[in-house]
Symmetry: C2
Subunit: 425 residues, 2 copies
């Protein structure tokens, strides 16, 4: 099936992501991170939770976070509203001018999970939640009706799809705008996702579903792709693949609390699949690296370390769009002393290698404007050698400065130094 041309990724870091963090993340850091998400092109973001501050200390600052967020018409902030008190507190924020656009209401398809999480039976959980959904809508908020453990439960095992359908019906009766099938503890598999969404889209053709997978068993990307193949446009992720479950003192009812499907990994996959997101993927990888510093540990993203898949750009190099400190991927050159060009001096050969290496990354015109004035040339290999040349961006601009580094395969430096490239775009 053809994939959607464009999707909406909701970044859950500031809520589902950090709710289990033991350490309190300072309010200004939370705000900065969300500001940077906005700069990167994210339009949908979980901003905070109005859980009881004593139960989830991470969100004791929910009001202050909302106060500090950048505001723009095209941004959708989402808050979790677990109970009536939480809704009242959120509505106060909305009236004061620093609210959210959407709330997420949560119930579990598995009654065991509901009991474990909220100590409520299905019959006990529904009426107060219905009131929240109706009141939020009456106050002009959109509501995401989240059905947790839609694909399986660590306590009850299988969850009947009929239960998910019934809760979808029930949410829609209350007026919910979106239905989120939550794979709360990562039980879903791609064939099941396909089957479930085929059935749900068949039964509820006009409902906007949101895919939300946890990567507990490593199937987060495969499941996101399966949902995408069913035409879903709304997908959730969290930078660094962080998150999953509040840290509580309760006995563990499941293991492997790995978090949401990792956003930067989703973005790299979507880029490769040709699905547009409007988000700067490399910027998201860099933001995730900053988030690792904030959280004080390496998180679970793969592309956080590998970077995106390498492709030669289809467009010519725009030297003003380069980013300071970013690395230009390396290129190989097989140096053979007796090959053509052996009459050239080393600076001329170095320039040829640099031209070649840049052309490996962008289609460069012949004789593009390049200056290699202060290159430091060290020992030149006397025999055939494989040379690896990379660049670090020192300064973008109409004439950009890059630091070139050329090494032999044993690590020996052949030449290094600044080069300048003028814009040809």
């Amino acid at each position: 099936m053809a994939l959607p041309a464009r999707v909406e990724i909701c970044e859950c870091w500031a809520r589902d992501g950090i709710q289990g963090e033991g350490q309190f993340i300072p309010t200004d850091v939370k705000i900065q991170m969300i500001q940077q998400m906005v700069n990167l092109g994210f339009h949908r973001m979980e901003a905070t939770s109005f859980s009881h501050p004593k139960l989830v200390k991470q969100f004791a600052d929910s009001v202050d976070v909302l106060k500090g967020l950048p505001r723009r018409d095209d941004l959708t902030y989402i808050a979790i509203v677990p109970n009536q008190k939480a809704l009242e507190r959120l509505l106060d924020c909305c009236q004061a001018g620093y609210g959210v656009q959407e709330i997420t209401a949560i119930i579990s398809a598995s009654e065991d999970h509901l009991l474990a999480n909220l100590e409520r039976t299905m019959a006990e959980a529904k009426p107060p939640l219905a009131k929240i959904v109706r009141q939020a809508r009456a106050e002009g908020l959109k509501v995401i009706g989240c059905i947790g453990t839609s694909f399986g439960c660590p306590l009850s095992g299988e969850v009947p799809l009929a239960q998910v359908e019934e809760l979808t019906d029930w949410y829609l009766e209350q007026g919910a705008d979106y239905i989120m099938l939550g794979d709360t503890t990562g039980e879903a598999n791609p064939l099941q996702v396909r089957r479930v969404y085929q059935r749900m889209l068949d039964k509820f053709p006009n409902v906007e579903f949101i895919s939300h997978f946890h990567d507990t068993r490593g199937m987060g990307l495969a499941n996101t792709l399966a949902a995408l193949e069913q035409g879903l446009v709304y997908h959730d992720g969290s930078l660094g693949g962080i998150g999953g479950q509040p840290s509580t003192n309760r006995p563990k009812y499941h293991y492997g609390l790995s978090g949401n499907t990792c956003t930067e990994d989703i973005l790299v996959m979507l880029d490769e699949l040709g699905v547009a997101t409007g988000i700067d993927t490399v910027g998201a990888i860099e933001l995730s690296q900053r988030i690792e510093a904030v959280c004080g540990r390496e998180l679970l993203g793969h592309t956080t370390r590998s970077g995106p898949v390498r492709h030669r750009s289809r467009q010519a190099l725009d030297t003003t769009a380069l980013k300071t400190g970013r690395e230009v991927p390396p290129s190989l050159y097989l140096w053979q002393p007796d090959a053509a060009g052996s009459g050239q001096n080393h600076t001329q050969v170095a320039e040829k290698i640099i031209r070649d290496a840049l052309d490996h990354n962008w289609p460069m015109p012949v004789d593009f404007p390049l200056e290699v004035k202060d290159l430091e040339i060290r020992a030149w290999p006397e025999q055939r050698a494989v040379l690896l040349t990379r660049f670090t961006v020192l300064e973008p601009g109409d004439t950009a400065r890059l630091e070139a580094l050329c090494q032999k395969s044993d690590g020996e430096v052949i030449f290094q130094g600044p080069v300048t490239v003028s814009n040809i775009a």
Copy 2:
């Protein structure tokens, strides 16, 4: 497309997995790990590499590993043979009665990658490799023709599929028995895998392809599934998702050296998809945990921490098949003092909870033989409470002993102690 009913998973831990480990893994540990793989039902295993012992120290003991392996007609051991000298050493082992059944020959589809890895051009690499393939076959070994960087290259970016087709043709001319399309540095995406294998199977309908993905960008499972959906039966993985690339002093030409797709994660996915492997999945998870101890660090598997997806067994409990030390997944019970059964004493209620919890895992007949003699009952909740009950297997047998533990959601222990269950199977 219907998935194959049964697949062959090759476990690459002992070669591709550990080749990058800085620390030498003792020979007897390597042999023990392979012995345990055999016990778990693995039939195909990379056993070692005959790389030059000075270049890859991890395989300095390749001959001794082969000497120590369990031998059975249905086991296929595979060795990497990078050059003529390596082949001669391996053939000596074969003649002495402790050889392998298959070798893997490796070339890269990307000439840049070939230069970076072996300092050879395509024209230089082919003739010696052709000789190895032909000689190995003449000596009765099967040959896997591996084409590295089939899906992309960290140095050249895109790799033309025509190049992969040409190398496949070339391998087949030399007599290769299998063709492995190696996603050496994790560039593949699922749509590409589908496209590539559709094309390859169309062009080479009689060739047995082996899927081999690295999880560098988190798409290992999604790609394995994509290959599976094209009907591939042979798939590679490594316990703990370890491996990837030899540790050398060379300048890095790509980042994120995360390893092979994780075997235990593959097994859990296949179990969920209903594809048979003949391998004990929970045993593989436990073996991967032992491998983490061997490697001295947490590896990259997801299910290593989460365990498999929970399902109630379809078969009745066979108490002789329980494994000592394994945990029986927990079950919930909503205790309400005023509910039916309030006239019973606490031991009677505890027994009811235990029966219920076991029935949550296996379909138990009414009044199955259970003894709860020495249960220690602590404070019984006076008010409604959610109780979580789990078991640890103490001793399997016709009458098995389990340790029961029942806790309130605040962690308080309600009862604990041994129970015995007699076989009903």
